[in-house]
């Protein structure tokens, strides 16, 4: 098979799987599972072959044409796409596998696995897309699959609301994204990623800033940056493997991937904005994570925070970073490096939490767990590796990628460096808090007391991802799959190296140590008990956006809609239209008054007419 055929196969296999499941296997959950998982396995195998085969290519065909305007369906498979393909197909397969265990009891398994297949199709479309129109198409499709899977348990009102919210908030981002694409098309004459790199001429002072910023709106929506971050915590209503796949490892990272794709369009002003949006989100989400009780919500805010890290990295380092006197897109390197390691350890953490939730009969409150270390040893050890990776324990994957970002910040912007370092302290703090409350101390609920280790289909993915989280940061692994992208990752040397090492060790020890020391194994939040003001403050901070948006939707938008509707009913449909009808009716009434059928009336009318006639003849008027 040629590489193009392989790529086509990778893209279309999940679509076929989704179609087969939707048409024939709605009730045959077992067969649907088999179809979906084998497709995921097959495409992981073909993808691995593509990535390690070393062949990089572009290919495209026309999809629609009007005059000079053409949309094409094309593949741009370079090293950047290869990294992303690895993350999506490899992590994707293990999450499929995990789902077979996690969703075994679910009545609507067919729909679930069909949804996973649609997601794989849409996500791979983004990975391969060679132009922005195509990327937008699959961009919206991942949004659809996310909608489908968040709302999997649609009988729950909260799930239905969360699904709707995710789609609409993403559409807000897509509004800017689409405008950016249109602007890019008319200013540069093309949206093909390769051609954009070749013919880029800025397009004037306004467009050169507006285009990247509008395109960034797409990333704000999809990667849940502030101020559109509100949908991601709610998206945890979906089944846990979905949270791992879509809302942690792959789809939410698509925003960062897209930014790296359009790196040639970036200008310093736009990068400044991107950097600050990322940095603010990183800090904000880390603060929110501290007061969460729900194990998945902690991880969701942690994901937001890490995505903020990646976006900040992109903003910090792209276009203008010098390594040995050569300008390289260090932001792309650092962002993609962290994206990859994050995909490993965050998928691991989510699946670990899924294993915990599964073991505790769907208990999600970390204050009702505790002491699971001995009950679920495999989950505990793999989860521990995940925690070590995310807090930046030396030697684990997250350590290397986070240090690359901190290095960029140190060299570019001390303020951002300080904020990101603080975020790292908080990360270590909330992760160790969760880790301690879940796995150590006394068992605090009935469900947790009866917890048991999950089956092989769930623990195998945990083990594989734990291995990757441990070793994924070494250049032997990342360099092998990322090729030239790995060269873009900045490495600290000399004094910087020492500074970064000291800072990252210090933040980890401070964060982790204080959490371990501070939190007691108790049914209430120690922070809430000891420092009520701080706890309340953080809670308000977390809820402020939702309060504001809910107010807008219920009080502004809906009332505006009602007002317009009222005006339409009263004025347009009522007064004007009925008024016209009334006028016609009045004329009819007047006409009828002339013909009353009474002889006297006719005589008077006759006389009146006669007078008029006489007056006219006499020249009165």
């Amino acid at each position: 098979m040629t590489p193009v055929t392989q790529a086509l196969l990778v893209l279309l296999l999940p679509l076929v799987s989704a179609a087969v499941i939707a048409l024939f296997l709605r009730r045959q959950g077992g067969i649907a599972t088999l179809v979906s998982v084998s497709v995921a396995a097959a495409l992981a195998a073909v993808s691995l072959n593509l990535i390690l085969g070393g062949e990089r290519f572009t290919a495209s065909m026309e999809w629609l044409r009007f005059g000079n305007f053409a949309v094409s369906l094309g593949f741009k498979f370079d090293d950047l796409a290869a990294v992303m393909l690895f993350v999506v197909s490899f992590v994707g397969f293990f999450i499929h596998l995990f789902s077979t265990g996690y969703m075994r009891e679910d009545a609507a398994r067919g729909r679930y696995f069909g949804g996973l297949s649609i997601f794989m199709f849409a996500m791979l479309g983004i990975v391969f897309a060679d132009n922005l129109f195509m990327m937008f198409i699959f961009w919206e499709l991942v949004g659809f699959s996310s909608y489908l899977l968040i709302g999997h348990w649609h009988e729950r009102q909260s799930a239905s609301d969360a699904a709707k919210k995710a789609f609409i908030v993403n559409r807000v981002g897509d509004f800017g994204f689409l405008l950016g694409i249109l602007m890019c098309y008319w200013v540069h004459g093309t949206v093909n990623l390769t051609e954009l790199g070749a013919t880029h001429d800025g397009g004037g002072i306004i467009y050169s800033r507006l285009i990247p910023l509008l395109l960034f709106c797409g990333a704000i929506g999809k990667s849940a940056m502030m101020p559109l971050q509100v949908w991601l915590p709610d998206a945890m209503e979906g089944p846990t493997p979905v949270s791992a796949l879509i809302h942690a490892a792959t789809m939410v990272a698509a925003g960062i991937y897209m930014l790296c794709r359009i790196e040639v369009l970036m200008v310093p002003d736009a990068l400044q904005v991107i950097m600050w949006v990322g940095t603010t989100t990183a800090l904000y989400a880390a603060l929110c994570a501290i007061v969460q009780r729900d194990i998945k919500k902690v991880l969701a805010y942690s994901t937001l925070s890490q995505l903020g890290y990646m976006v900040a990295a992109f903003g910090l380092g792209s276009s203008s970073f010098e390594l040995n006197g050569v300008a390289i897109a260090a932001g792309v390197g650092a962002a993609m490096f962290h994206l990859t390691t994050h995909a490993f350890f965050k998928a691991l953490l989510f699946l670990g939490s899924g294993s915990v939730i599964h073991g505790c009969q769907h208990e999600q409150d970390i204050f009702k767990m505790g002491g699971l270390k001995s009950k679920m040893p495999l989950t505990f050890w793999t989860f521990t590796i995940g925690v070590a990776a995310i807090i930046g324990m030396p030697g684990f994957a997250g350590f290397f990628s986070k240090d690359a970002i901190l290095l960029l910040a140190l060299q570019k912007n001390p303020a951002v460096f300080a904020i990101l370092a603080l975020t790292a302290v908080l990360t270590a703090f909330y992760m160790v808090r969760m880790w301690k409350l879940v796995f150590f101390g006394a068992t605090r609920s009935e469900h947790a007391a009866h917890a048991h280790e999950s089956g092989f289909s769930m623990t195998l993915p945990l083990i594989v991802l734990a291995v990757l989280s441990a070793v994924g940061g070494y250049s032997g692994i990342f360099g092998r799959i990322a090729g030239s992208v790995a060269y873009l990752v900045p490495h600290a040397e000399g004094a910087d190296h020492t500074t970064i090492l000291i800072v990252s060790l210090a933040v980890m020890i401070v964060g982790a140590g204080s959490a371990w020391w501070f939190y007691k194994s108790d049914a209430t939040d120690t922070l809430e008990a000891k420092s009520r003001g701080l706890f309340r403050g953080l809670t308000v901070l977390k809820e402020s956006f939702d309060v504001l948006y809910d107010y807008y939707v219920a009080k502004v938008q809906q009332r505006f809609a009602m007002l317009l509707n009222f005006l339409e009913q009263i004025f347009l449909a009522g007064l004007i239209i009925r008024g016209c009808a009334g006028l016609v009716g009045l004329m009819g009434l007047g006409g009828r008054a002339l013909h009353v059928g009474s002889l006297h009336a006719y005589v008077y009318w006759f006389l009146f007419g006669l007078v008029l006639l006489w007056a006219y003849a006499a020249g009165v008027f």
């Binding site: 629609l64 044409r65 005059g67 305007f69 937008f136 709302g151 009988e155 239905s160 897509d174």
Partner: protein, 511 residues
């Protein structure tokens, strides 16, 4: 080209009319129903046949063209049939939606089913005729032929407020049709071609265009005349009311197909014949479309509590994109409009069909009295969500391509209006998903629980599923393979109309 031993266009018009005639002459009910299947299936199959056999690279000229004498040759009237790249997509649309509406009507157990089917068949014959006619006289004639049964069906088989709705519908649509008729006759008279044949008219007017001032008046007449028929804001209030009251199959055919007559007339007749006139009206048209149809009606749609009214308003909103595309005066814009017309026709017909199916199970249209229906009827829920997502322009469905192309075209016309129009994708997502969630997800309301306890709802039956599948399959097919329509369309639009931004026909008019 067609290898059929008969003229597919004529047969596709004549079959439903002949079946209607047979029913009118007192065919017994069981034969009527069987024959009605034939009356709806033949046009659909012939339309697909024409699509499949449409010659590659054709589209600029009329294919499958035939001419029948009518005895009115002295007035320049003859029954000339043919399809070009613009007519073909709509002809296929009429065939498919007609089949779906017919199948849905046959199983609907309406009272006086025979007469209901008879009227629908007349409508179907008229619709096939509208898009197959090359002669403007017959183009108009077939429209009226399809329109009159609509009024009767609303008045007799309609739901709530049917009398008021039927009257309002009649007044509005007759007014719109009259304005456009005046415009069409004026073109005939002023052109001096002494022919209603669109091809002859076009040749005459390209050689000797009408004066700019006259063109302005004529285009104004056509724009408002056709505009009323397509629910241009603020002449749209008939639409939600009328569709709310209309029986489902009539609503499917009218909203899905017949309404497209106005847009089709603008693209096929008004724009090429009156390019100078069109250029003077674009500001008004685009302004009404974006601020009226898209934004104002978009917000009004959000405020609806009645499911059927909501679908009606959303349909009015989507027409705003079509008007915006026309106002761009470019082949790109017009191409997008035709794609959107087909897509919207399929999706709105599907929505009206499913709305009625929902009503059969909930016994209400009030969104506040529903909820959680998906637990009882998962297939119905899946179809409805798919139809909603199609109508709000999710890629993978046909509507997306229409909207995208219009947005791209509109950019060169006005960046601000484009931005406002693109904002419509958020508005439509809000009302679309909110509606789907209110009907199907979450927990059932007490009212619904009471209704479903009394009448346990069954999931979508095959007789309902089949027409829905026809429509959904067409939406997905075009969504995944837009070239199947855009290639002939591009051929029809591109040679006549220069690149985006330039005025149509101006370069060839020698002016």
């Amino acid at each position: 080209m067609s290898q059929l031993p008969f003229d597919p266009l004529f047969v596709s018009i004549a079959t439903p009319l002949a079946v209607a005639l047979a029913i009118a002459f007192g065919l017994p009910k069981r034969y009527s129903v069987k024959l009605a299947y034939v009356g709806f299936a033949v046009p659909a199959l012939l339309a697909l046949h024409c699509w499949y056999h449409f010659p590659a690279g054709a589209g600029a000229d009329y294919v499958f063209a035939t001419q029948y004498s009518t005895g009115l040759a002295s007035l320049g009237i003859s029954l000339k049939l043919g399809l070009n790249g613009i007519a073909l997509p709509l002809f296929v649309l009429a065939g498919l939606v007609g089949l779906a509406a017919g199948l849905y009507a046959i199983q609907s157990q309406a009272e006086r089913l025979k007469h209901y089917l008879m009227l629908l068949l007349i409508m179907q014959g008229g619709l096939m005729g509208v898009f197959a006619s090359v002669d403007i006289f017959f183009f108009y004639f077939f429209h009226e032929l399809a329109l009159i049964p609509t009024f009767i069906m609303v008045g007799v088989w309609g739901g709530r407020d049917r009398n008021y709705a039927a009257m309002k519908l009649t007044i509005y649509l007759t007014l719109g049709a009259m304005l456009s008729l005046i415009g069409l006759i004026a073109i005939y008279v002023k052109s001096g071609a002494n022919s209603f044949d669109l091809v002859t008219l076009r040749h005459t007017l390209v050689a000797t265009p009408l004066a700019g001032g006259l063109q302005k008046h004529l285009f104004g007449l056509l724009m408002f005349g056709f505009g009323i028929l397509v629910s241009l804001w603020p002449f749209h209030t008939w639409a939600p009311l009328g569709y709310g009251a209309a029986p489902s199959s009539a609503a499917m055919l009218h909203a899905g197909v017949l309404k497209k007559f106005g847009l089709y007339g603008l693209i096929q007749i008004a724009l090429p014949l009156l390019p100078l006139g069109a250029s003077q009206w674009t500001t008004v048209l685009a302004g009404l479309a974006v601020f009226g149809n898209i934004l104002v009606v978009g917000f009004i749609t959000m405020a609806q509590r009645d499911l059927k009214q909501m679908v009606g308003y959303s349909s009015v909103m989507h027409m705003g994109y079509a008007f915006l595309g026309i106002a761009c005066l470019s082949s790109l814009g017009a191409g997008g409009v035709v794609l959107l017309m087909v897509a919207h026709g399929l999706s709105v017909a599907l929505l009206f069909l499913l709305t009625t199916s929902i009503h059969h199970r909930t016994h209400t249209f009030d969104l506040n009295e529903m909820g959680g229906l998906a637990q009882k009827t998962p297939v119905l829920a899946a179809f409805f969500v798919a139809a909603t997502l199609a109508s709000i322009g999710l890629p993978g469905f046909a509507n997306f391509w229409g909207e995208l192309t219009i947005f791209v075209a509109a950019w060169t016309y006005s960046k601000v209006l484009t931005a406002c129009a693109v904002g419509g994708i958020i508005i439509s997502a809000v009302y679309g998903l909110r509606t789907a969630a209110r009907v199907f997800f979450g927990t059932p309301t007490e009212e619904l629980a009471r209704v479903t306890a009394a009448h346990p709802p069954a999931d979508l039956r095959w007789s309902e599923k089949l027409p829905a599948i026809i429509l959904l399959a067409a939406l997905l097919f075009i969504g995944f393979w837009p070239k199947s329509l855009s290639t002939p369309l591009n051929a029809a639009l591109h040679p006549a109309w220069p690149a985006p931004g330039a005025l149509p026909l101006q370069t060839t008019s020698g002016k």
